[in-house]
Amino acid sequence: MSVRKTPAGEKWRLLEVERPEDPYYNLAIEEAVARTVGEGIAPTTLRFWRNDNAIVIGAFQCVSLEIKLEECVRYGVKVVRRFTGGGAVYHDIRNLNYAISFRRPSPIPGDDILNGYRMVGEAVIAGLEKLGVKAEFIPVNDIQVGGRKISGMAGTLTKNFLFIHGCLLVGSNIEILSRVLNVPKEKLEAKGVGSVRARVTTLRDELNREITMDEVKTALLRGFEEVFDVELIPGELTSWEERIAEELYRNKYMTIVWNLGPCRGCPDRDRDALILGRVGLAGGD
C-alpha cells in the first residue's frame, strides 16, 4: 500500500475556471486537469466551477432511463456525460462544484477511492462547519445535513491519478431537479423517502438566508487547507490543459455518441439522439 503524506504547508493550485453556459467545456476542463495533474505537469489542483441549468450524468448511466429528456427540452436543460461514474445530478448557477485531482501516489490512504470520498468529504464538512452548518459523511459518497443530502461526490482512479469531484447545493432550484431526473423508486425506497425533493436540502435552507458563492468558496477552501494541511494558491490553466480541454470538447463532450452512452441496443437511442441534437450536440452514432 503506497501512501504519500502531504508535507505540511505544501502548495496546491486553486482553479476557478468555468463556463457556466457551456457544461460540455466545463467537463472537458475537468478531465484535462485530471490528466495533466496525473502526468505531473501541474500540481495537485482544487477547482471550483458551476454549470447553469444542466444535467451531468454518470459515465455508466443510460440517458433514456435516468433522465426525462422531454422535460429537459422544456426547461432548456443541457445534458452532458462526465468521465466518472456515479449518479445523475442537476446543476444550476446556485450549485457549486468542487473537484480535486491528485497525482498518484496521493495523500489518500491506499489511493483508495472510498477513502478519497471520505477525506474529501471531511474537507467539505470542515468548510460547511465554518458557515455554521453541521454535516456528516454518509458512505459511499454523500454529505448530509439532518439526514438530507446536500452534496454528492463521484470520482475515479486510474494508473496516474485519483480524482474526486462533487456538487454542493447552495441555493439550487430543487423543483426542476425533481422534474428532470428519473430516480428509480427502488433507490427512493432504500433511502426511506417518497420523492427526490424530500431527500435533499440546500445551504440556503439550512442557514435560512441567502449566501454568496464567494462566502461558500472561502469556507470550503479553508476546509481543504485544514484537512489536507496545505496552502491553496490561485492559478490558471496551463497551455497544455487548454489544448487537451479543446480536443476533449470537440471530439468527446460535444458529441451525441459520447453523451448518449453505452446503450447501443436501446430502442430509444435514435429518439434520444434527436433530442440531444435539439439541445445543440453534434456528431452521429
Binding site: 454518470g58 459515465a59 455508466f60 448511466q61 443510460c62 432511463l65 468521465f83 466518472t84 461514474g85 456515479g86 449518479g87 445523475a88 477511492i113 472510498l114 458512505p139 459511499v140 459518497n141 463521484a154 470520482g155 475515479t156 482512479l157 486510474t158 428509480p184 427502488e186 433507490k187 432504500a190 452512452g261 453505452p262 446503450c263 447501443r264 441496443g265 436501446c266 430502442p267
Partner: protein, 99 residues
C-alpha cells in the same frame, strides 16, 4: 421472424448503488444486453461492454451466462465500487426469471 422481447430490471446493491440491466431476446437468443448504473470503476471502456459478454448466448443456458459474465468481470474490470460483481449476476438471474 420471431418477435424481439425486451426486459429491464433495477437491482439495488447492498453496497449502496444500483445496477440496471436492459436485455432484448429473440427466440431464446440474447440480441442486446446493457448493464448501466450509478456505480464507479475502471476501465470505463470495459465497464460499458459488460453486456456484450452475454450477447448471442441462450437464455436457457443459465450457468453458461453466469460463467461468461463472471469471467468478463474478473478479467477485464480493474476495480468497481458501489456494487459488486455478484450484483451484475443477480440482476441477470432476476431478469432471466421473468423471461
Amino acid at each position: 421472424m420471431q418477435a424481439e422481447i425486451r426486459r429491464s430490471i433495477v437491482y439495488r446493491s447492498e453496497r449502496g448503488k444500483t445496477v440496471r440491466l436492459c436485455i432484448s431476446v429473440r427466440g431464446d437468443r440474447i440480441m442486446h444486453a446493457t448493464f448501466t448504473g450509478d456505480f464507479f470503476g475502471e476501465p470505463a471502456e470495459e465497464l460499458n461492454k459488460i453486456g456484450e459478454s452475454i450477447v448471442g448466448l441462450s437464455i436457457k443456458e443459465r450457468d453458461k451466462l453466469l460463467s461468461r459474465l463472471d469471467a468478463f468481470l474478473r478479467e477485464r474490470v480493474e476495480w468497481i465500487e458501489g456494487v459488486s460483481p455478484e450484483d451484475f449476476k443477480q440482476a441477470l438471474v432476476k431478469i432471466l426469471e421473468n423471461l
